[in-house]
C-alpha cells in the first residue's frame, strides 16, 4: 500500500514539473513575434568561439520555434530540459544552467538562514504568547507582529537599507561580498559574505517572523485546551515536560509542513530583497531577465522556481508521516 502511494505521489510531482515545462514551451512557441526565431537568426550571425555550445543552443531554440509537428517539438524541448540544456543566455551567451547555478547558492544561503532564524524565534515567541494568552505581553506582541507582517517587504527592506546602510553606515549597501577580498575559502572572504548578508537576512527574517509566531501562538492556545494536556497536568507531569512533549510537539507538528513548503516557495520570494540589496541570487536574476526580455534565462528560472515548489510540497508530504505517528500514509 505504502510503496504504491509513494510511487503515485512522486509520479504526480514529476508530472507537475513536466506540465510546467510544457507551459513554458507553449508560451514561447505561441507568442506572436516568435522570440525563438529572432534569437535563432541572431545566433547564426554571431561569431561563436565554442561550436559545441552553438549546436546545443540551436537544438534548444529549434524546439521553441513554431515549425513542424508541435508535439514532436514539445517532446524535444522536454528532452533538452531534462538533460540540463536550457539554452544560452540571450545577452551574455553563457549557458543558462551555468548562470542559474552561480546564483542559486546565494539565494539558498540567505533564504534558508532567514527561514531558520525566523522559524526558531517565531515558534519560541509564539509558544510564549500562547501560554500568556490574554495578558498584556501577549496582546502587545500580537499587535506588533500583525503590524510588521503587513509591511511590504520592499518597504521594510528599503527602510533598513536607508537607516542602517546609508544613514548609520553600519552595513554595506549591497552585493554579496566586497570587491577587495579574494574569492575562496579564506577568512576575509567568509567574513565579508556574512557581513553583506546581514541586512537581506534581517529583512527576510522580519518578514517571516510574525507569521510563524502568530501561527504558533494559535496552535499553542488550541493545544492547551486539549484533553491530553489537562490529563497530563492531572498526572502531575512537570510543566517543563508538558511544555515540550505535550503542548510544544503537538502545536509544532502542523507547522512542519508549512516550513518545508515555505522553503520551496522562498526561492522566488526573495526577488525584492535581492533587488534592493543588489544581492546576486536567483531573485535578482529573475528581475534582470524580465526587464531585459531575456527569454531563455527567464524560462530557465521559471522552471527552476516551480520545481523547487513542487519538491517542497512533495517533501512535506513524504516526510510528515515520519515525524507524526498519527498519519499513516496510504491507509
Amino acid at each position: 500500500m505504502r510503496s504504491l502511494w509513494l510511487i503515485r505521489r512522486v509520479a504526480m510531482a514529476f508530472i507537475t514539473v513536466l506540465v510546467t515545462i510544457i507551459i513554458s514551451w507553449a508560451l514561447m512557441e505561441y507568442s506572436p513575434e516568435s522570440p525563438a526565431n529572432t534569437l535563432l537568426n541572431n545566433l547564426r550571425v554571431t561569431e561563436y568561439s565554442n561550436p559545441r555550445l552553438l549546436i546545443e543552443m540551436e537544438q534548444y531554440l529549434n524546439t521553441l520555434r513554431p515549425h513542424g509537428n508541435p508535439v514532436v517539438n514539445a517532446l524535444e524541448y522536454i528532452w533538452q530540459i531534462l538533460h540540463g540544456n536550457m539554452g544560452l543566455d540571450v545577452i551574455s551567451q553563457i549557458p543558462v544552467t551555468k548562470i542559474i547555478a552561480t546564483a542559486i547558492p546565494w539565494t539558498i544561503f540567505i533564504v534558508s538562514t532567514s527561514l531558520l532564524i525566523s522559524f526558531v524565534i517565531g515558534i519560541r515567541v509564539g509558544q510564549f504568547m500562547g501560554y500568556k494568552r490574554g495578558t498584556k505581553s501577549d496582546s502587545t506582541l500580537t499587535m506588533l507582529f500583525t503590524v510588521i507582517r503587513s509591511i511590504p517587504i520592499y518597504i521594510s527592506g528599503a527602510l533598513l537599507l536607508f537607516i542602517l546602510g546609508y544613514q548609520m553606515r553600519l552595513f554595506p549597501s549591497g552585493g554579496a561580498y566586497s570587491a577587495t577580498v579574494q574569492v575562496g575559502l579564506n577568512l576575509p572572504f567568509i567574513e565579508s559574505v556574512l557581513y553583506h548578508s546581514i541586512l537581506p537576512i534581517a529583512t527576510l527574517t522580519l518578514a517571516n517572523l510574525g507569521g510563524w509566531a502568530l501561527h504558533m501562538r494559535a496552535n499553542t492556545i488550541y493545544t492547551l485546551g486539549e484533553d491530553y494536556v489537562t490529563y497530563a497536568e492531572l498526572r502531575g507531569i512537570t510543566s517543563r515536560q508538558i511544555e515540550t512533549k505535550y503542548v510544544g510537539r503537538n502545536a509544532l507538528l502542523p507547522l512542519y509542513t508549512s516550513l518545508v513548503i515555505a522553503i520551496g516557495f522562498s526561492f522566488g520570494g526573495s526577488v525584492f530583497v535581492e533587488q534592493i540589496f543588489s544581492y546576486p541570487g536567483i531573485g535578482n536574476l529573475l528581475y534582470y531577465s524580465i526587464t531585459n526580455n531575456d527569454y531563455t534565462l527567464e524560462m530557465g528560472i521559471f522552471i527552476i522556481l516551480i520545481t523547487a515548489v513542487v519538491i517542497g510540497v512533495l517533501l512535506a508530504d513524504l516526510t510528515y508521516s515520519l515525524i507524526d505517528p498519527r498519519v499513516k500514509t496510504g491507509d
Binding site: 484533553d227 491530553y228 490529563y231 498526572r235 502531575g236 507531569i237 512533549k245
Partner: protein, 325 residues
C-alpha cells in the same frame, strides 16, 4: 475534623462558570465525606456537575470556571487545597489521588507511545523508567491488554475501549490510595464493562484502594459502589448506603431515578416515567419535576437533612435536623 478513617472530606465547595459576566453555578455548597476503603459513587444526569466536582478536588478548575467561597478539602488528613501547587503536584497527584478522565478518546498524547505516558508519569515523580516498566506492563495485563504489544503502540492504533483500559491502568501506576474515576466504563461494551468493574472491586478489596466512581449509569453504581451521592443541578440531593438508596431512595429525584431503570431479571412493574424539565432557580431545584411538592418547595431552598446518618435535601424530611447543626 478529619478522622483517620476518612479518605476525603469536602466542605462548602462551590464552583461557577463565568460566561459573559454572568456566573452560572455548577456546584453549590458541596459537603461530603468518603471513607477510607469504600467505593463511593456519584450519580446524576448530564450537566449535574459530576466532572466539575472531580476537577475541583484535583485543583484543576480553570477559567471560565472559578471556585467560590472558602472550601476545605482534606485527603487523608492533609489539607490539599491550601498547600502549594508544587507540593500538590509532587506529593499528592498520582501518589495519593489519581484520576481516570471521562473522555478516553483524546486523553492520550497522539505523538507519544502508550508506554511513554507511563514513563512520563513516573519520571515526573522522581521514579526512573527502568524501575517502573515492569509495573506498567503488569497493569496493562491486568486490564486485559497484551502488555508488550500495546506498550509500543500509539493511541490512534487502539480502539476506544482499549484506550479507556490504558487510562485505568495508568491511574494505578504510583499506588494511589484514592482513585477518582469519571465515567471510566461508559465507553466500553457490556462484557468489558463487567470485567473492568470486577477489577475495580478486586483492587478495592485486596489492596484497600478507595474509589470515587462517577457515573450516570445507575445499574453500574448499584453493582459497584458502597455509598452513593446523588447530584442534581450542582447540588447534593441525597447521600446514603447503596443498598438502601437502590431499594428505598428518600429523595423524590432518587426515587424517579431508581424507578426509571428496567431490569433484565427482576420485575418491571415499578418502572415509571419521570417528568421532564429543567432545574428550577427558585425554591427546590427539583420542583419542576417533582411529584411530592408542597407550597414551600416553590419558595424556599431545602437544606440537607440528616436521617439515620444519611442525608437528603427535601422538605418532606424537614423534621430531621439539617446537616452540620
Amino acid at each position: 475534623m478529619s478522622e483517620i478513617n476518612t479518605a476525603l472530606s469536602v466542605e462548602d465547595l462551590s464552583v461557577v462558570y463565568r460566561t459573559q459576566g454572568v456566573d452560572i453555578a455548577a456546584l453549590k455548597d458541596i459537603t461530603f465525606n468518603v471513607n477510607d476503603g469504600e467505593i463511593f459513587g456519584i450519580i446524576g444526569e448530564s450537566g449535574s456537575g459530576k466532572s466539575t466536582l472531580a476537577k475541583a478536588i484535583l485543583r484543576n478548575i480553570k477559567p471560565p470556571g472559578f471556585i467560590t467561597g472558602e472550601p476545605r478539602i482534606f485527603c487523608y488528613g492533609r489539607n490539599i487545597i491550601s498547600m502549594s501547587q508544587r507540593e500538590f503536584r509532587e506529593k499528592i497527584l498520582w501518589q495519593l489521588i489519581s484520576y481516570v478522565p471521562q473522555s478516553s478518546l483524546n486523553s492520550l498524547n497522539g505523538t507519544m507511545r502508550i508506554i511513554d505516558h507511563f514513563y512520563d508519569t513516573a519520571t515526573s515523580h522522581g521514579i526512573s523508567k527502568e524501575k517502573i516498566r515492569e509495573k506498567a506492563l503488569e497493569l496493562l495485563k491486568m486490564v486485559r491488554l497484551e502488555p508488550e504489544k500495546v506498550a509500543v503502540m500509539y493511541p490512534h492504533q487502539l480502539s476506544g475501549g482499549m484506550r479507556q483500559r490504558v487510562l485505568i491502568a495508568l491511574s494505578l501506576l504510583l499506588n494511589p490510595k484514592l482513585v477518582i474515576m469519571d465515567e471510566a466504563v461508559s465507553a466500553l461494551d457490556v462484557a468489558t464493562q463487567k470485567h473492568i468493574l470486577d477489577i475495580i472491586k478486586d483492587l478495592n478489596k485486596s489492596m484497600g484502594i478507595t474509589v470515587i466512581f462517577i457515573t450516570h449509569d445507575i445499574a453500574i453504581a448499584a453493582y459497584l459502589t458502597h455509598t452513593i451521592m446523588v447530584l442534581y443541578a450542582g447540588e447534593i440531593m441525597e447521600i446514603g448506603k447503596t443498598e438502601r438508596i437502590i431499594k428505598s431512595p428518600y429523595h423524590p429525584y432518587s426515587v424517579s431515578l431508581m424507578s426509571s431503570v428496567p431490569s433484565i431479571r427482576g420485575s418491571l412493574e415499578g418502572v415509571r416515567v419521570v417528568k421532564e424539565g429543567y432545574p428550577s432557580r427558585v425554591g427546590c431545584p427539583f420542583n419542576t419535576r417533582c411529584e411530592y411538592t408542597s407550597d414551600i418547595c416553590f419558595k424556599n431552598h431545602p437544606e440537607l437533612y440528616e436521617i439515620n446518618s444519611d442525608y437528603v435535601r427535601c422538605f418532606n424530611y424537614a423534621t430531621n435536623k439539617p446537616k452540620g447543626s
